[in-house]
């Protein structure tokens, strides 16, 4: 008799955590599309089907909401990639599987990808979130992946490469393709985000990385 009627899902008296989550999700979308400066709090509220004042009930201000969106995106990414790093594998396989998983994550999370890139650009002007995000999410991944690479170099499986050069290169190969897809579409006429093209890209990245990573004439053809 007092069943919660399935009227407007959010709005008056919805599940509070659901409202908060809706706001965060909308914030990720809006910030990833327009950037911190271009995003409009009204647009976020509208997309979350919530009054704008509710944003300020759950988050201190626009900047904090942006920070929460960052933590959300980086947290997901970090969690996923940490899991990959935890697997018991020899360095060569581990790096390639890391790259493949990273590629898949970036490919399947367009909002996260854009949000992260936006923040990367904003870091140059001193974003107040840079320190936290870098230390909490990047540092651990960077350190551990760097360790794997040094291991591979030491064992002679890898060419004598510097992790501080290799890791940004690897990230660049994965991320940049998606970031520049709209431009590429205009230049080439093809849609770089079609499943076939994305699969092609993934293969090309793994080929490119393998060529740069492994010693010439590797004993085992890497997966």
């Amino acid at each position: 008799m007092k069943l919660p009627e399935p009227k407007s899902p959010y709005g008056t008296r919805g599940r509070p955590d659901q409202s908060r989550a809706a706001i965060l999700k909308a914030a990720v979308r809006e910030f990833s599309k327009e950037g911190m400066a271009g995003a409009r709090t009204d647009a976020i509220a509208r997309a979350a089907r919530v009054n704008k004042a509710l944003l300020y009930y759950y988050f201190k201000d626009k900047e904090s909401l942006y920070g929460a969106a960052l933590d959300y995106a980086f947290g997901q990414l970090s969690e996923h990639m940490t899991e990959v790093l935890n697997r018991e594998l020899p360095p060569g396989e581990k790096v390639l599987i890391y790259v493949a998983n990273y590629f898949d994550f970036v490919a399947s999370h367009p909002h996260f990808r854009n949000l992260i890139q936006m923040e990367t650009m904003r870091a140059g002007q001193g974003s107040p979130h840079l320190q936290r995000v870098a230390k909490r999410y990047f540092m651990p991944l960077y350190t551990r992946l760097g360790g794997v690479i040094r291991q591979g170099v030491a064992s002679g499986e890898f060419r004598p490469i510097d992790p501080m050069q290799f890791i940004p290169s690897m990230v660049a190969l994965v991320v940049f393709y998606f970031i520049s897809a709209p431009v590429m579409k205009t230049v080439t006429g093809f849609d770089p985000l079609s499943p076939e093209r994305v699969a092609e890209r993934k293969a090309a990245v793994l080929d490119f990385v393998s060529a740069a990573l492994f010693q010439r004439l590797p004993k085992g053809e890497p997966k």
Copy 2:
């Protein structure tokens, strides 16, 4: 009989073309730092040491000024890289020299680099300048460089790579390092933009590209 002489187009108060140039230069700086949405016309005017209304005397609106800044940056880049493509060289050398020159240009033009990256990101939400910029500046470079690569593949000097994969990879390796420098600085503690680090990066990029580009056991060690 008397040829239509350009009737003293400029030259009243101050140097007018100097004012216009100052505005453009300030616009490049401001837009490259804050993006189209984040940039403030007042800040541009202040930086150009000019009244804000003068922006609107020389440019239709903020969007047009942004477009002019883009044309300025892309024009410089395009001009420089076209000159490199015009040199008479075998494919292998040409590609490596292209990469090296591109790297140097990006390294020495931080504002252009950021502005271009900003526009690349904005292209996703349909920038009104994408078509023009892509057709006028990217297309010619892309087509010609693609031709050089196909030539190298056909002659057996290069591995069987697809220009549509190789070119974005090459751009990614060059650009991404600088874009993510602030983050890297926070993560590693080193300054990735110091001359020594930049030189290291250039070597690493050329090594990385060479490894991916050339057939194994190349007859001549590429420069």
